[in-house]
């Protein structure tokens, strides 16, 4: 007996009528079996279980997503966050500290050191850095009070804003380097450092250019 072609069986499986095929099927158990087997295989295909993706798939997808960079910053580990906060806090405190110290008359503090040298944010751990912040905070409060007192007493002009900012940038550079010593590959901390260095260089150039002219160099 000549049996049905595979194309015919396939059409029958899909319910497509084929002339003469139905009659053949009724009298041919072999072709009936073949058709039933194809039907069963199709059912098995549809019942194949779901598969689990590789465990690292999301980590491959995430960097390609919009907003991934921003999220990367938000989801930094706590040591990095703390160190970043420390770096920022030091910079803020030093601005105020430099204001206070620079405002003090030289004769009242003969052993005074330059601001950047007097404050040394060289903490190697988060705990040390936080202690440094607290210490600087206390000095900041005292310096502000001193500044107020001196301003009321002598009416001297405030120290150069450029000098204050330069000192704070020095501190930010140091704080960033301290933080990077813990997490050297952190892109945010590196960006802080590079930005601070760039700003510091630009300020030094401006200071050099403006020497003798007297105008105040403002923060860009």
């Amino acid at each position: 007996m000549v049996h049905l072609k595979e194309e015919t069986l396939s059409e029958l499986l899909d319910g497509v009528p084929v002339a003469g095929a139905e009659e053949h099927l009724t009298s041919c158990p072999t072709c009936q079996g073949e058709l039933e087997l194809l039907r069963r295989l199709r059912a098995e295909l549809r019942e194949l279980p779901e598969l689990q993706p590789p465990a690292d798939l999301w980590s491959r997808i995430e960097p390609t997503l919009p907003g991934a960079r921003q999220s990367r910053r938000l989801r930094l580990g706590w040591p990095t966050l703390v160190l970043m906060q420390v770096a920022a806090a030091i910079a803020i405190f030093v601005i105020g500290l430099s204001v206070g110290r620079s405002s003090q008359p030289v004769e009242e503090q003969p052993d005074a050191l330059p601001v950047a040298a007097a404050v040394q944010p060289v903490a190697a751990t988060v705990t040390d850095a936080m202690a440094e912040v607290q210490r600087l905070g206390s000095e900041y409060d005292a310096a502000l009070a001193n500044l107020q007192r001196l301003a009321q007493r002598s009416g001297r002009p405030a120290p150069s804003l450029t000098e204050q900012r330069l000192a704070s940038l020095d501190m930010l550079v140091e704080a960033s380097r301290t933080a990077l010593s813990v997490e050297p590959a952190d892109p945010v901390l590196n960006s802080y450092l590079f930005a601070a260095l760039e700003e510091r260089d630009a300020m030094l150039r401006e200071m050099s250019e403006s020497q003798g002219t007297g105008p105040e160099v403002l923060w860009r």
Partner: protein, 189 residues
């Protein structure tokens, strides 16, 4: 409710919240991976395809209007991503390979050695099918695409899609039943 939760996730993902994207991924990762894995027949390629599918989806999630469920939407993107890649690869490789125009049922000598040597499960047999066969078979028999839709997506004629399907079914049958199975003489209809 699940629907509300997912709608909320979609809304947050559209506004760029990565956490929401991650949650949507977790909800549908298996479904997406499964369909691209079935079409790819290979773990590494499937991972690449799933990665591309999700990246594509989130890059254009602002276009998702919620007319269909997110799962349906991402599933469609996954299928299209896989088929686009397969279509590109088919330009470098003959889809039909050595199976064009010949009945696999009636010509066991043309079956690959692996098929002749062992009996395999449906899942493994699917992986062993030539790429073109596997794509058409899965799209038609499982995903429910018509031959016209398959032809359009794979860039082949409707007749070719029908032919590929019948060959794919026959080949799958041969792989599963095994080389020593009864070979029926399929001469004429």
């Amino acid at each position: 409710m699940v629907e509300l939760t997912e709608a909320n996730l979609v809304r947050r993902a559209r506004s760029g919240e990565l956490e929401a994207m991650r949650d949507l991924y977790e909800l549908h990762a298996s479904r997406v991976y499964t369909v691209v894995r079935r079409l790819a027949g290979d773990d590494d390629l499937a991972a690449d395809l799933a990665q591309d599918a999700w990246a594509n989806a989130f890059q254009k999630i602002k276009d998702f209007r919620g007319d269909a469920a997110f799962g349906t939407w991402i599933h469609r993107i996954a299928v299209n991503t896989a088929l686009t890649r397969l279509r590109q690869s088919s330009r470098r490789r003959d889809l039909e390979q050595s199976f064009d125009g010949s009945s696999t049922l009636g010509n066991p000598d043309r079956w690959p050695v692996t098929a002749a040597a062992e009996r395999v499960t449906v899942q493994r047999a699917l992986d062993m099918l030539p790429e073109g066969y596997r794509s058409v078979l899965w799209m038609h028999d499982v995903e429910g695409y018509t031959h016209e839709e398959i032809g359009a997506r794979l860039g082949i004629a409707v007749g070719t899609s029908k032919s590929q399907l019948s060959k794919a079914r026959a080949r799958l049958r041969a792989l599963v039943v095994g080389a020593k199975a009864e070979v029926v003489d399929h001469g004429t209809s």
